[in-house]
């Protein structure tokens, strides 16, 4: 190994260290931003080093340099503009889109690398298969999150059989490619096509509520695909970074699946929340629901000692985070103790609700997770549930229904509950929420944004 190669390897190692330190500093809000910058610095050095290596080896044709420069400039600009302009509520679909293009790039590496040795054949096939699957899967997930593709589970006739067929086809072509000593590259393209189709078929039937799990899993897949591309190119930084991301995605996938108490396999199988397999326990549908006006609810909140706000998907969809925080601040000024109870799957990607509330300047110490919140409800005067449904359903404590065993926020332990919601409609699980018919619960029917604004003006009008 020449002196130049040694230096290059050591620099790449330093970059990998930057990635690990960067991820490590994501442990706390105080250091997270610095961590991301360390990671970005490592990335910049890695890119610069690679450019120097290409220049040093003089192995790249002028045409390739032009293609690389044009593609990278256009992609970099597009990414920059999208990242600058995106609203915090639209974050999940953008992250999913970035995940898609990462997977796509990883797949293209193995497709384009003609110099692949036999040892690279296995990892090349894996790279193409996982990368292509992630590409279309993440695009569909992004479309669902953005509302361009319906969020409800879309079932294709014989979808599962076709997916299984595509999987068999991809494996057969892959094995052929690996086994044949001089396999035509078209086999690899066949693997890519089968995986692209499978990505669409596998993601379409997955319901909107399962999206936090799905995008975590797709993130893990991209990490793995990038690591496989690293094997193909014998490039250590790709292998290390891919492994780190694969681990991150896997951990988040497990956390999210646990928070919904659903096995990952069942989520991938999809079809959840269609509503046709729903059993509603007798009596709950006919039980009376108590309605409350915004002004009465405002007065109830104003004279409470402790209020917990439970934000859910409805708040994220209505982009009502600023109104929620304004209401909380007004209450806090009156001396009311206010906290937010955030379920792990609130919002549409892991931790999404925290980002939305942080954007609206909610004080970080007021944001409580499930474990911190549940013991607090017993000494809470009023819980204000804003657009959350299944995660507050006491039916989860009983076996035999679609939400059984799901960890919930114990809002029914509080002295009173106000549910701000547009209608009595079902959540993703497709069942009635027993909380709504609890005698201590009052329903305030409104859009999250309009309802919170009405509560705030009621607070100013009657309790100031």
């Amino acid at each position: 190994m020449s002196g130049f190669d040694t230096v290059v390897h050591l620099v790449y190692l330093a970059c990998a260290v930057c990635f690990v330190i960067g991820l490590h500093q994501m442990n706390a809000p105080a250091t997270a931003r610095q961590g991301n910058r360390i990671s970005a610095a490592g990335m910049a050095v890695a890119i610069l080093t690679t450019a120097i290596v290409l220049g040093h080896n003089r192995s790249v044709s002028a045409g390739a340099v032009v293609a690389l420069a044009i593609g990278a400039f256009a992609g970099g600009t597009a990414g920059l503009i999208a990242a600058r302009r995106v609203k915090m509520t639209a974050m999940p679909q953008l992250v999913s889109l970035f995940n898609a293009v990462g997977g796509g790039a990883a797949a293209l590496i193995a497709l384009g690398d003609r110099a692949a040795s036999t040892q690279a054949a296995v990892t090349g096939v894996l790279d193409v298969a996982i990368g292509a699957l992630t590409f279309t899967g993440s695009l569909v997930a992004s479309g669902k999150l953005a509302g361009r593709i319906p969020g409800r589970p879309l079932t294709v006739p014989f979808g599962r059989q076709i997916s299984a067929g595509l999987a068999v086809l991809a494996i057969a072509l892959g094995v052929w490619f690996v086994a044949a000593s001089d396999a035509p590259p078209i086999l690899l393209a066949g693997v890519a096509v089968a995986a692209l189709a499978a990505g669409v078929l596998l993601t379409l039937p997955i319901g909107g509520a399962d999206m936090p799990v799905v995008i975590s899993l797709l993130n893990a897949c991209t990490g793995t695909a990038v690591a496989m591309a690293g094997f193909v190119l014998e490039s250590t930084p790709l292998i290390i970074a891919g492994g780190l991301v694969g681990a991150a995605g896997a951990i988040l996938t497990k956390l999210m699946a646990d928070a919904m108490n659903r096995p990952i396999i069942a989520i991938i199988a999809g079809g959840y929340g269609t509503g046709d397999a729903v059993t509603v326990s007798a009596g709950t549908t006919s039980a009376p629901v108590r309605e409350i006006t915004a002004d009465d609810a405002a007065i109830q909140l104003a004279y409470a000692g402790k209020v917990v706000i439970v934000p859910g998907y409805g708040l994220a969809a209505a982009q009502a985070q600023h109104e929620a925080v304004a209401l909380a601040e007004a209450l806090a000024q009156r001396g009311v103790e206010v906290t937010y109870a955030i379920h792990p799957v609130a919002g549409r990607m892991p931790g999404h609700m925290n980002v939305l509330l942080a954007e609206a300047n909610a004080p970080y110490p007021q944001l409580r997770d499930l474990e911190e919140s549940n013991p607090e409800f017993a000494r809470t005067d009023v819980v204000l549930v804003v657009g959350a449904n299944d995660v507050t359903n006491p039916a989860a404590r009983r076996p035999g229904n679609p939400v059984s065993g799901m960890p919930i926020l114990d809002v029914d332990k509080a002295r009173s509950v106000i549910v701000l919601k547009r209608s009595l409609g079902h959540g993703y699980a497709g069942i009635d929420n027993e909380l709504y018919t609890d005698p201590r619960t009052a329903m305030l029917f409104a859009d999250a944004k309009a309802g919170l604004a009405a509560l705030l003006s009621g607070l100013h009008a009657y309790a100031s």
């Binding site: 990635f19 690389l68 990242a83 293009v101 990883a106 292998i239 492994g243 892991p350 931790g351």
Partner: protein, 94 residues
């Protein structure tokens, strides 16, 4: 298996374990920036695309290279910028 492949496999396995160890401590509050930050890190695929430039030829190869570069560059720049924007919101408070 060649010694090189074994070495790569060792690195990959250890990277997975380091990843599990480092990330399992991240609080729920930071899950979105974590995912987004991890997303940016797999933008390292741009390094792979640059290395690929040494082995492509012909119009088809150049088009493939340009598309791959577009995807990877979008991933890496967008990923870091969006993560930084998110984290700005967390920083201003105690």
């Amino acid at each position: 298996m060649s010694p090189l492949l074994l070495a790569d496999l060792t690195v990959f396995t250890l990277a997975l374990l380091v990843g599990f160890e480092v990330i399992s401590k991240v609080p729920a509050t930071l899950h979105t920036p974590l995912m987004s930050g991890a997303n940016a890190i797999h933008g390292v695929v741009i390094v792979g695309v640059m290395l690929l430039a040494a082995s492509v030829s012909g119009i088809g190869g150049y088009v493939l290279l340009a598309v791959a570069a577009f995807c990877a560059a979008m991933n890496v720049t967008g990923g870091y910028v969006v993560t930084d924007r998110m984290l700005t919101m967390f920083r201003s408070r105690s």
